[in-house]
């Protein structure tokens, strides 16, 4: 991979830091009047999602990280790995539980997710922003109470638990925003 110097650090650039791939969030130019110029850089470690701050001398460089985002279809899990397929090449990738991470309770077979590949292997998985999933378990629906506010927990087939309006029942399919975990509506 190419090396990037501090003056090429831009938000979104993927670089290697202490052996881990990181994404640059911010790069601030710092220079004491009579002193050496620095770059104060905020980065997100793509493995742990932790945000760190590092100071580099102007002109220092970091190696680029072989990190690529790719849309892939979720196929299935065998309990150990989660399998994704590139829609164009049909090439399959297996992701570990830690790579799937927070996407786990939202994964429905055939949904298209954004998979971040690092050196060719899945590093993290982003579910679609909106998913449609069936309710597997909730208190019985209260018909005729649709005008009244109020909500109850509902467990979805994928494992997520979402707050839904009282009138919904087991077997209903709902639309959820995966970024907030909020109910968006019932799908007819």
């Amino acid at each position: 991979m190419a090396n990037y110097s501090t003056n090429e650090f831009r938000s979104g650039l993927k670089v290697m830091l202490d052996g881990d791939p990181c994404s640059i969030l911010e790069n601030e130019f710092v220079k004491p009047g009579k002193g050496q110029a620095f770059s104060r850089v905020k980065l997100r470690n793509l493995k742990t999602s932790r945000v760190l701050e590092k100071t580099f001398k102007s002109g220092e460089s970091l190696e680029g990280a072989d990190v690529m985002d790719q849309d892939m279809q979720y196929l299935y899990t065998d309990g150990d790995f989660w399998y994704f397929m590139e829609p164009d090449t049909f090439e399959q990738h297996q992701a570990t539980e830690s790579a799937v991470g927070d996407a786990l309770p939202w994964l429905s077979e055939q949904d298209v997710c954004m998979v971040t590949l690092y050196n060719g292997s899945p590093l993290s998985v982003m579910p679609p922003n909106h998913v449609e999933i069936e309710i597997i378990e909730t208190d019985p629906g209260l018909r005729g109470d649709t005008a009244q506010g109020g909500s109850k927990p509902a467990k979805l087939v994928t494992g997520a638990v979402v707050k839904v309006p009282l009138f919904l029942d087991q077997g209903d399919v709902i639309k959820v925003d995966t970024r907030t975990g909020e109910y968006q509506g019932r799908v007819k």
Binding site: G33, K34, Q36, T55
Partner: protein
Amino acid sequence: MDKWQPGASLNTLRHRAAMLSSVREFFKQRSVLEVDVPVMGKATVTDLNIDSITTSAVGEQGYLQTSPEYFMKRLLASGIGDIYFMGKAFRDGEVGLKHNPEFTILEWYRCGWDDHQLMSELAELISLLLAEEVGISRDITKMSYSDCFSDSVGFDPHSAELRNLQSLAAKLSSQSWINETRANCLDLIFSSQVEPHLPCGITIIYDYPECQAALAQISVNSAGQNVSKRFEAFVNGVEIANGYLELTDACEQRERFKHDRKARELLSKTVVPVDQKFLNALNSGIPACAGVAVGLDRLLMGALGVNSIDQVLTFSWLRC
């Protein structure tokens, strides 16, 4: 950026104009003479970390001045007395939230004063210029570099061993700092550990480390350590001024130039010629004096509570 509009609002530009006229009034009342020295010269500073913008005129190489210091000191040598300059200065490679390659500098010299007298006058001026805004703190804190450093970091910067500074710098950034110079390690530690904790309002820090003397005299502090008679002012943690009890010894000055040039050569930076006319002026004798330079754009940022220099300039480099 394709925008043609200025970065500063019309209201900010009115504040800017008011600030410039307050400065002129301040010095008029104190009988300090305004001088309008060149911003383009045939020589420039040798500072390791300050890069000049080159230009040319009538077939000769020139440099946009990074501060009016050398020209002003030549005037001091000619016996002019107390003087100030308010105008543009230029530094290459400096662009960011708090930097623009062209900026407005206010620099003045007081003959026969020491650094502490000038710090008082500086605090008075900054306080006056901040006063035009409501809700901006004008509390003044004055402390030595050693005190504020050891308060935040836990050890004395002057007596600390180089390898301890290097390992702290490496811990704060990366292993590549393990062989850095004393001055660079101190700057890194100061900017990341001390500056963010400086009190609100105006903070003046004096007696900088000997290795960061630039054009200041070296002296001995109450703990018997060598320090430079250099000071800086911060407004809400942002560096806005740098001053010295000025070095007046031409031989010592020549040595420092030589040292700078060697350091630039080692880092493969452009080696600039030494300003011989400035050295000749020092040789002929300049009065004992203290001098200070203020970044007026940053002071205006502090007065208005804005965090980007683009918001106080008509057209920052991004918009030129």
